[in-house]
């Protein structure tokens, strides 16, 4: 108020008079401030900065928001100190590096320090207890999970079945059928296959004739047989792609797909049962192998749990070999479904769902998308996976909005949202909750958090109503989003 500035020009004398009245009123209000209070600001700030430097170094780069509670406490303290300064008549201009104010109310400081120390001790104790509980919980959960989860998958990857399956593979190879193996066992089987091709021809009539016949029936019309390792690895790759592609956050069917086919449920059991790359997993005749002839080149990403998935399949097909397995009835059903899928006679969504559920020892289902992909690949159809079932007539591809869609839609109105700061002059994070219909239109918006019910919040909410998102098939979604209004 003391520095000369180029004040706005007043064309209208009445404006000048009005400004004078406002200025006079403001100065009258300002005059009520005591000098001690004004000068106490510098003293308080100096003490605060000293504490900031003590806590976190120079404080120049320290985040602002971290100390507000402490600030409030100190501010109250400062106000009390200002009053005491006033009464004592002390010159309140405090040199920044000295701390005379501390001596005025040292008793208050001691009490506060004591309270702070006690609070710290208490909080530390609580924290320690929580940590202990957490650790015990974690360890208990970990061992408990292992204890519960290990036995069942171990049945599914039963090693004694491997020789039978290898014989099956040999029989299939001799019969000119695509040789189905998983990536892990391929490391073992492929060299053997190359060396003993002649032997395989001789052994073609021996072994599991029924299984070979089934495979021939289902795969006989496919392309010429590829190398076994290529087939299995490509199948695994395909499987991984299908699992990842429909990662929709809210759509019911894709969510089920992701859940059902995700390797997480089976992961804990696999390292023990099927060491990745060690070739200890069982050989398989599985869905992935069936689609292998037109699958992409071999990939090294075939997961360990893929082996287990395939193993569940193998149990189904080599019915007799897995006779001791408690999963046999389920496996038989899976086998039937999988065969139906392979021959293209019953490409129903539940088919793969059951296969996946049985293979992964999880009840969650996989969607039909991966089945469609596999069928396409097996029949030499489109090489690119479709996002949804190809039979769905003109339905939107999406079953929900993913993060990218939401960000894209909200970025479209971010500029207008920033305009709310220009209108109302309040910066900060404005959280909104928007309901988006499956048409992609925003049907309802409300500001939440600290801007709820404020002009700025209402402004941003109005802006968000104009956001547009891609359409999808399914129920409306509720989106929580935060805009940062900057100064």
């Amino acid at each position: 108020m003391s520095e000369p500035t180029n004040t706005p020009s007043h064309d209208d004398p009445s404006d000048r008079a009005l400004d004078d009245r406002v200025r006079a009123a403001s100065e009258a209000l300002f005059a009520l401030a005591s000098e001690a209070k004004l000068d106490g600001i510098a003293a308080w700030v100096d003490r605060e900065l000293e504490q900031i430097d003590r806590r976190g170094g120079s404080g120049v780069a320290t985040p602002v928001a971290t100390s507000l509670p402490a600030d409030r406490e100190h501010r109250r303290e400062s106000r009390m100190m200002s009053d005491s300064d006033k009464t004592s008549g002390r010159d309140s201009v405090t040199p920044p590096s000295t701390k005379p104010a501390r001596t005025d109310d040292s008793g208050l400081h001691d009490l506060k320090a004591l309270a702070q120390d006690t609070r710290k001790r208490i909080s530390k104790r609580i924290t320690t207890q929580i940590d202990t509980i957490d650790e015990s919980l974690l360890s208990a959960s970990h061992s408990g999970l292992r204890a519960v989860a290990l036995p069942e998958p171990a049945l599914m990857v039963s090693l004694p079945d491997v020789p039978a399956t290898m014989a099956q593979v040999r029989a299939a190879a001799a019969a000119g059928v695509p040789a189905p193996v998983t990536a892990s066992e391929g490391a073992i089987i492929a060299p053997l296959a190359r060396k003993r091709t002649a032997v395989w021809v001789g052994l073609g009539a021996v072994g599991l004739a029924a299984a070979a016949a089934i495979v021939i029936m289902s795969g006989g019309k496919k392309d010429p047989p590829p190398a076994p390792t290529v087939a299995s690895a490509a199948g695994a790759d395909q499987e991984a792609r299908v699992d990842v592609a429909p990662a929709m956050p809210t759509g019911p069917a894709p969510a089920a797909e992701v859940t059902g086919s995700a390797p997480t449920g089976s992961a804990p059991t696999d390292p023990a049962a099927v060491p990745a790359g060690a070739g200890a997993g069982g050989a398989t005749v599985d869905r992935a192998a069936i689609v292998a002839p037109v699958a992409p080149p071999p990939s090294t990403t075939a997961s360990a749990d893929k082996g287990r998935v395939s193993d569940g399949k193998r149990e189904a097909i080599t019915d007799g070999a897995a006779a001791g397995s408690s999963k046999k009835p389920e496996a038989s059903k899976r086998d039937a479904d999988a065969l139906a899928v392979a021959t293209g006679t019953a490409a129903k969504p539940g088919g793969k769902a059951e296969v996946k559920a049985g293979a992964g020892a999880k009840p969650a289902a996989s969607g039909e998308k991966s089945i469609e992909d596999l069928l396409d690949d097996a029949s030499g159809g489109p090489t690119k996976p479709k996002d949804t079932a190809g039979d769905a007539p003109a339905a939107p591809d999406k079953t929900g909005l993913d993060t990218g869609d939401i960000k894209k839609g909200m970025r479209g109105v971010a500029g207008k949202a920033q305009g709310c700061f220009d209108q109302h002059g309040v910066a900060g994070h404005v959280k909104v909750r928007a309901t988006v219909a499956s048409s992609g239109a925003v049907t309802k918006v409300e500001a939440t958090g600290e801007f709820a019910g404020t002009p700025t919040g209402s402004c941003v909410a109005d802006v968000v109503k104009g956001a547009a998102f891609p359409a999808w098939s399914g129920s409306p979604m509720t989106i929580n989003y935060s805009f940062t209004l900057q100064e």
Binding site: L18, S26, I41
Partner: protein, 193 residues
Amino acid sequence: MAEDDPDLLARARAGDRSAFGALVRRYQRRVYAAALNVTGNHADAEDVAQETFVRAYRGLAGFDGRADFFTWLYRIAVNTALNRLRSGRRTAALADAGAAEVAQLGGKPEDLGSPRYAPDEQAALTQEVRAVLAAVAELSATLRVTLVLATVEGLSHRQIAEILDIPEGTVAWRVNEARRLLRERLADANGKT
């Protein structure tokens, strides 16, 4: 001889707290006055002024020096004061069922963000001053802040535009609109008395 702002700033950024202290003492009254004009009472103004300097100290590394130090400081003060009003509005809404209802129904929530004049402070003022302050308090926060910066602080439209980060044309419009509304309200108040 007093050092210039850039010199003190350079020393403060180098870790010299006494240099920043000198800046605080240089601007504390103006920052306090600005905070007082936005918040309307001395208790909040003191808090805002203190918080402004702490924020400024912590943000020194981010101050690029393109604007004047005072302009930058003023911007922090205005925003801190507005945040203060907003938090006070929330408190008021919680305490006052009627006000909360207004806020819920989306009536005129900005009315809740008016300066909170302390009764004892008001009692010490003349009727004319109280009438003007009341009329100013009825303005929306954006109009009020712009008017105060222009009339009380005597800042140019360019400075105000920098502080509020809005175009100069918007500043001019807000000032004129604030004057118009103020004139109307003061006329109404005079008519009532």
